[in-house]
């Protein structure tokens, strides 16, 4: 199952080897050419010698993670976040470390020993550590090296009514949409790019767009969704189950009005639900792509993900399927010349 395979693979920013290998297997045979660039982006070319606009579809394959920075004498490991991780979500979570996926748990003082004041305050990063059951520092460093990375040890599972939970829907959901798009045939040149290092500053996408020089680029993302109890309408970002979301403005992009109208038009014409991403914070690879060289037209299509950047993220499978349909429809309309910049 594609979503399970992609979300369970490891790939914190800068350490995308495993997920890149998985993605390469998933697309091999469906595309004309697949290769990596200097930064480690996985670039897939499909029908690039056909006439028509050169379309770059982008999904970042990296995920937020933790990097081991120090081993204490007693064998406990200190770490720093790789990408935006809220320290408050970390306590007591199981993680997998390094290439051999060694189990660890992020430890903290048990409730029995905490003073009343300590119970009221969230634990800061400095007081957290990862316990791998090591005897002492030497034992710990025999299994884990400084600079190794860890990810949450969450399995993919379908839950409730057409929902799923996993550790990295941001942005393996986008990767899965891109894989599905690359398995189909399109009459225009398509460059599918699984980028690296999005979570630490959109670094991979910048180099990929510079190389590809697309006419049109679309970032496929898993985005913030906070449609929960007591969140006002203008603080939700997106709503689970209401379809793929279009960005109006985020931290790095002002929507290209023409392309936004095109996306809305395609969704309505194909009877696919859509919504707007109604917050300014955050960003995605399109923020880097649209500023490369002489500038690139395009936008982003995002799947709402609750508890993004946390151990168990929740996504609607209907939103996912509608995003797959929408990307298919967008490519078909682009091939028909439905968008003129």
């Amino acid at each position: 199952m594609l979503l399970k395979r992609l979300t369970e693979a490891m790939g914190p920013s800068g350490f995308e080897d495993e997920i890149r290998g998985v993605l390469r297997e998933e697309v091999e045979g469906c595309v004309d050419r697949v290769y990596t660039d200097v930064l480690g982006n996985l670039i897939c070319e499909k029908g690039v010698h056909q006439p028509g606009p050169r379309v770059m579809l982008d999904a970042h394959m990296d995920e937020v993670g933790l990097m081991i920075t120090h081993a204490e004498e007693n064998g406990l490991l200190r770490f720093r976040p790789l990408g935006g991780v809220d320290p408050r979500v970390l306590v007591s979570k199981p993680v997998r470390i390094g290439e051999d996926k060694r189990f660890g748990v992020i430890g903290a003082k048990p409730i029995h020993l905490q003073k009343a004041e300590e119970r009221r305050k969230p634990l800061p990063l400095e007081s957290l550590y990862i316990d791998i059951g090591a005897r002492d520092r030497d034992d710990a460093l025999a299994h884990v090296r400084l600079g190794d990375v860890a990810v949450f040890a969450t399995r993919y599972e379908e839950i409730g009514v057409r929902c799923a939970k996993a550790k990295s829907f941001d942005d393996r959901a986008g990767c899965a949409v891109l894989v599905e798009a690359l398995r189909e045939t399109h009459p225009i040149p398509v460059y599918g790019v699984f980028t690296v290092q999005e979570e630490i500053g959109l670094r991979g996408a910048m180099a990929a767009a510079y190389r590809i020089q697309p006419d049109i680029a679309i970032a496929l993302e898993g985005t913030v969704c906070f449609d929960v109890a007591r969140a006002p309408g203008h603080g939700q970002g997106t709503v689970l189950g209401r379809g793929p979301a279009f960005t109006l403005q985020d931290g790095r992009t002002l929507a290209d009005r023409r392309f936004l109208e095109f996306l809305v038009h395609v969704a309505e014409r194909h009877d696919i639900p859509y919504q707007f991403r109604r917050v300014k914070g955050g960003s995605n690879d399109f923020g880097a792509i649209h500023r490369t060289r002489a500038g690139v037209v395009g936008g982003s299509i995002s799947i709402p993900v609750r508890y993004i950047h946390a151990p168990a993220q929740v996504m609607s499978l209907e939103d996912y399927e509608n995003t797959v349909r929408l990307v298919r429809a967008v490519l078909a309309e682009l091939a028909k010349g439905g968008f003129q910049a």
């Binding site: 009005r257 707007f276 109604r278 917050v279 002489a294």
Partner: protein, 332 residues
């Protein structure tokens, strides 16, 4: 050649146009209208920059003036028909309370604030806009989500030389760049002018524009804050004392050869200048300088007194800036 009246007419016209970053379409048309007849090529690029080029003699000098302004964007409509906003660029939420906003589609509304919030704590999440809608559907029909707007305020003439208004930064700079472009084109020089998009959100347009144009020299024309008001933040620029040579701002340090050339050009043109040292200042200079393999960049600024969303400028500074830019560009 002095033409304060011509500059003023253009600025009065252009500063009324609503053009928050990313929604520069209307002002772009007005700006290009002033120079189209003198240009060989005119185009609008992927990010919304308006670019005009005139072929001719000499080095390729590119005049850069941002066309956009900070503003707001409608991001949500609630069930009662009130709109919610996010900022475009650096807009203090408290400056919007009780003001009218005008959206790019002409709809206007009144900005209110949730009453439980203390004035010093006001954020965009507490603001709402009443556009006269009675329902969510009506509000979204009047102002589709994603529509951008600005604080509504007319441009006012204050005495013979000064103007006050909302978007004088940088429609005044656009007027300087446009006039300088026309004069350089008439002289037969190779020259381009770029009215850049999306400066107020981080100079996103300027870099891609410079990438396309490969300038031998780029001159950025923009406002710099005057410091001649009571208890103003320390800044040496004074209104009406002449345009300013950008020495450095928060985005770029002007190369010495460009700085010296601008000083010498001002002397030859008989223009009294001031010096702009603005360590936290934002301008297109840095984005232009770091485009391609690096671009020679200079800056000619005009002092602007700033108060909330309003600016006050002096037309004599602008007129001198035109003569200075023309002299510098023609001799590079």
């Amino acid at each position: 050649m002095t033409d304060i009246g011509g500059l003023k007419a253009r600025i009065l016209h252009w500063a009324e146009v609503v053009a928050p970053s990313g929604s520069e379409g209307q002002v772009r048309e007005a700006l290009l209208g002033a120079i189209r007849a003198a240009a060989d090529t005119v185009r609008v690029d992927a990010l919304g920059n308006a670019i005009a080029t005139k072929a001719g003699e000499g080095k390729h000098v590119v005049l850069v003036a941002h066309a956009d302004e900070p503003g707001v964007m409608a991001i949500h409509a609630d069930e009662q028909g009130f709109l919610r906003l996010i900022a475009i660029g650096d807009v203090p939420a408290e400056a919007l309370v009780g003001r009218m906003v005008q959206f790019t589609n002409g709809v206007t509304g009144v900005v209110g604030v949730e009453s439980r919030v203390k004035p010093q704590d006001v954020g965009f999440e507490h603001l709402f806009v009443d556009v006269g809608a009675a329902s969510q559907a009506e509000a979204q029909r009047l102002v589709p989500l994603g529509t951008a707007g600005v604080v509504q305020s007319p441009v006012v003439e204050m005495g013979p030389h000064r103007l006050a208004g909302r978007a004088l930064d940088n429609r005044a700079g656009c007027a300087v760049a446009a006039e300088a472009f026309l004069r350089l084109a008439a002289m037969g020089r190779k020259v381009s002018v770029v009215f850049t998009a999306q400066q107020a959100v981080g100079s996103r347009g300027a870099g891609t524009a410079a990438y396309q144009l490969e300038p031998d020299l780029a001159i950025v024309v923009d406002a710099a804050p005057a410091g001649d008001m009571p208890e103003a933040p320390r800044m040496a620029l004074r209104l009406g004392q002449g345009p300013a040579l950008k020495v450095m701002d928060g985005t770029a340090v002007v190369p010495l050869d460009v700085k010296h050339h601008l000083e010498e050009s001002a002397r030859r043109a008989g223009v009294e200048i001031q010096y702009e040292v603005w360590p936290r200042g934002q301008s297109d200079a840095g984005a232009v300088q770091l485009s391609q393999a690096g671009v020679k960049v200079g800056g000619v600024s005009y002092p602007a007194r700033r108060s909330g969303m309003m600016q006050v400028i002096d037309l004599r500074d602008l007129d001198a800036a035109v003569r200075w830019v023309v002299a510098a560009a023609a001799s590079w």
